[in-house]
Amino acid sequence: MSQQHDVYFVPAKSYWPFVAAVVMFIFMFGAGHWLNAEPGGAGFGKTVLTLGVLGVLGMFFGWFRSVINESLAGDYNPQVDTSFRMGMMWFIFSEVMFFGAFFSALFYIRMFSVPWLGGEGHGVLTHQFLWSDYAAAWGANGGNGPAHVGGAFETVPAWGLPLLNTLILLSSSVTVTIAHHALRAGHRGRILVFLGLTVLLGALFLNFQAHEYIEAYHELNLTLGSGVYGSTFFLLTGFHGLHVTLGTIMLSVIWFRVLKGHFSKEHHFGFEAVAWYWHFVDVVWLGLFMFVYIL
């Protein structure tokens, strides 16, 4: 279809959306079955779950391939470009709200639920009748609640690996911005170097976080089961880590697309969308570093 500004663009029919709905269903059905399997029982949930995950990955590959081909064929006019941009911005906004739910849970627990369990406030009967010896505290000495769920644990010190990870992510934001400027100036070699660096920094971050988790589980006895401290710690950092993983994969794909010469100085929405996503992940980390590790 030609790029006439006075004609709207409507994409051709595609089977990918229906395929996507099917594989997402297989994924979720498998996950549900796996969670409900008897311990040690021979459930088929794991197999279905694996098939679902592979299906989702394959679907992404296929769907994006067709979109990239259409983009390279020059099918998309500036109006479509704006729609894509709006789509990505609002998607990131929805992600902000998702993390917002977990941050709010953290604030509620630290500001209300733990102090109330420790006897603060009026008419707080839980403290009086159930756990009158519980002194409200966060971190290693009380962050797992009055019943000491999960047993004694230690917290991950903020100024070790987490600080290093902060510096890594901040640097990666700088490198991805340099790559973006290089793209607009048309220096392909510089893009590849700095975008490659961003991918490596993302991978390094994930590597350190994996180390941190292993240390937390094996040496600090800090687990998902360590009361609300463990719950908030692992869900917040875990969901963030998942997003870093996705971001790193997306950056790698963009790296290969740069290598194949998919982007021009003016036409590189794919690159920008991933860069926005990467900055978003970075900002979430700053919140985590502040409220999960330091305070």
């Binding site: 409507v10 959306p17 998607f91 917002g100 739910a101 733990v114 406030g121 719950s231």
Partner: protein, 538 residues
Amino acid sequence: MSYAATHDQHDDHHGAPKSFFQRWFMSTNHKDIGTLYLIFALTMFFIGGSFAMTIRAELFKPGLQLVQPYFFNQLTTMHGLIMIFGAIMPAFVGLGNWMIPMMVGAPDMALPRMNNLSFWILPFAFILMLSTLFLPGGGPAGGWTMYPPLSLQSNSLAYVVFAIHLMGISSIMGAINIIATILNMRAPGMDLLKMPVFVWSWLITAFLLIAVMPVLAGAVTMLLTDKYFDTSFFNPGGGGDPVLYQHVFWFFGHPEVYIMILPAFGIISEIVPTFARKPIFGYKAMVFALACIAFLSFTVWAHHMFAVGLPLGADLFFMYATMLIAVPTGVKVFNWVATMWGGSMTFETPMLFAIAFIILFTIGGFSGLMLALVPADFQYQDTYFVVAHFHYVLVTGALFAIIGAAYFWLPKWSGHMYSEFWGKVHFWNSVVWVNVLFFPQHFLGLAGMPRRIPDYNVAFANFNMISSIGGFLFGASQLIFLGVVIHCVFFSKKQAADRAWEGAKGLEWTVPSPAPHHTFSVPPVIHDEELAHGDVHA
């Protein structure tokens, strides 16, 4: 007469693909996807309705008659989840899909393939959710709000949580699509303040959806990890708090209430001016009232939790904030009435449903104000008064608006007029029996009958019997609606004009009836006198 249509070379009936699979499973057409949404919503409405009929049959008289209490709890839970996520919301998305591109002069939605994905996720999500009824241990039975720790006892939790994740993904993508369509695909000259109120209502609703569906995803994810991964979010022993769930849930839940009513406001704002043959009174005030209601919806969530034991300051704040919402809502009701004032009114079926909406929704609004009063709410909490309140706003509110919209736009969709006689039969049956069904529940609630119970004190017997009779007849009346729709689409001989209603304004009435497979492939030229609100700047 249609400037847009004459310019469009694709504008014919041959645009639709011949292959059934290609047309309905691979669609990028907003009209076909809108139709799928509407059929899906109607199907879920009858499934959820059959649950409601079973509930009313069980409550016909005191004592246990038909179902076991545990199954009864599954019925109430599933009825809520299906009607909210399966019937009302998809029906509004279907209406938005069909009408928004035509109302703003766009060829389609901004992201048509994602649109198809948004729809196709839904049937699978509901298969996942409904399948739990057949599992050992049954479906979710802790109420649609899924409060812990009760909801954590059911093995169906994982499936329900994943089904809700899927529905959330679908809603968020649908909302992103609608925002991008409205902000990016309007025809030149269709200024924001010339858009129909229905389009405005959906723009604001879409924003609410993107803001709160992820929060629901977060809340149910915490339920999931509490049950299956040893976390302690809602376990006081581990430092958590079950009330935390209620806060996160209702931060989603209250805007969700407006997600289910703002598009209804938009629909009423289209129907009333058409049949009063006057422009809507106070167009800008209507738009700002919508925005106000949406903004306030984020500040009132704890009015669902007054009885849970909040600090006094919180109770007071949420009480006053809630009552504040009556102001923009009052503006809207006033403006609808003022639109009718002095108009040359006719009372076709859509208008009848719109007028019933205005009166009955206002009753639901007033009982809402009663519930907003903290001291009074301590009495009403979890009684049938609450049930009566939210059924007045959701059945005679949201559902009546959807049915009114279906009658209003069926001529445009199908190219035929429906049977006005049977439409009126449907209306009068619905409006009479819905009041017989729900009005006595106010009295039951004030007398102290709790909700979500299969058996009750004999003192409540008479009103329950009346309510059940109303319920059966209201349910049966909806079969008339099904008949009217099927007759209109497949058998009606009466052709609809392009402008199916004499007083109808707006771009959607400038294209032929039935609307061709592709409309506005070339941006239409906007003539202000064709719009309902073209002279808003004057």
